[in-house]
């Protein structure tokens, strides 16, 4: 049985001092869309598609959740990204806010 020679170059082990764990593991902020009696259902679906680049089916699922349950959590993000999405949704006059994910 042949014995293997030790490798000439040992693989470098990278120490991940800076990882993207901030976005993955920190609680972050929830971007929530709340129900209101004025925005049209089709309009809300369209806005979700535009802002999040979602397929119509996914956008409709969240729109129906807003309609039936009073709110829908659209995404969980870092502070800056959550702010960005809330700005985008409010540009269309949707009732959207960001809340700490507790």
């Amino acid at each position: 049985m042949a014995t293997e020679a030790p490798p000439v170059v040992l693989p470098e082990i990278e120490h991940a001092d800076q990882t993207d764990s901030k976005t993955s593991f920190e609680p972050g902020f929830l971007v929530i869309c709340w129900d209101d009696p004025i925005n049209l259902m089709d309009y809300v679906t369209h806005v979700f598609q535009e802002v999040f680049r979602w397929e119509r089916q996914r956008a409709e699922k969240h729109m129906l959740e807003v309609h039936h349950k009073g709110k829908s959590v659209l995404t969980r993000e870092s502070l800056e990204k959550a702010e960005f999405y809330v700005h985008q949704l409010q540009k269309y006059n949707l009732h959207a806010t960001m809340e700490p994910n507790q």
Partner: protein
Amino acid sequence: MKFIGRNEEQLVFEMTAREKSLFLAILGLYPQVPESHHRLSQQVDLPDAQANQRLLEESVKAQKAESQKWITTAFKEPDRFKPGKTGFYLTIKRPELEMLLQIFNDVRIGSWLTLGSPAAGQKKKLVPNPQTAPFIQRMELAGAFEMFFLKTIRDEAADTTA
């Protein structure tokens, strides 16, 4: 108002003189929703809550100023409305549809806010009087244009996926 056709960059609609006049009248009412209408969060203890709220309002204000400027210039362009057999042909660039949707929705929501934000069931029972009638009319007209453009976008998406 009818959707006539499109190419890669723009869409063409046909409208009567009356529809054109209503279309421009509703656009002329923009903006109706105050910048302070939206809150960034329901929590008051967010980091830099006040500063971020102010930033949000400034951003909304800047965006509305831009849209208002677009309204005042875009619909004076000579190629925007071309005379047709039954009225006019309106040409809209694809990204402008999004702006139109935001504008009509703003007028619709602003009128609803002025009417005291009636709940869904109450909206149908709104009785027009000299004070409320203009706002009910604006809300309904803006809604009709909004639904028309939403349908156009939906049909267009269905055509491209078919």
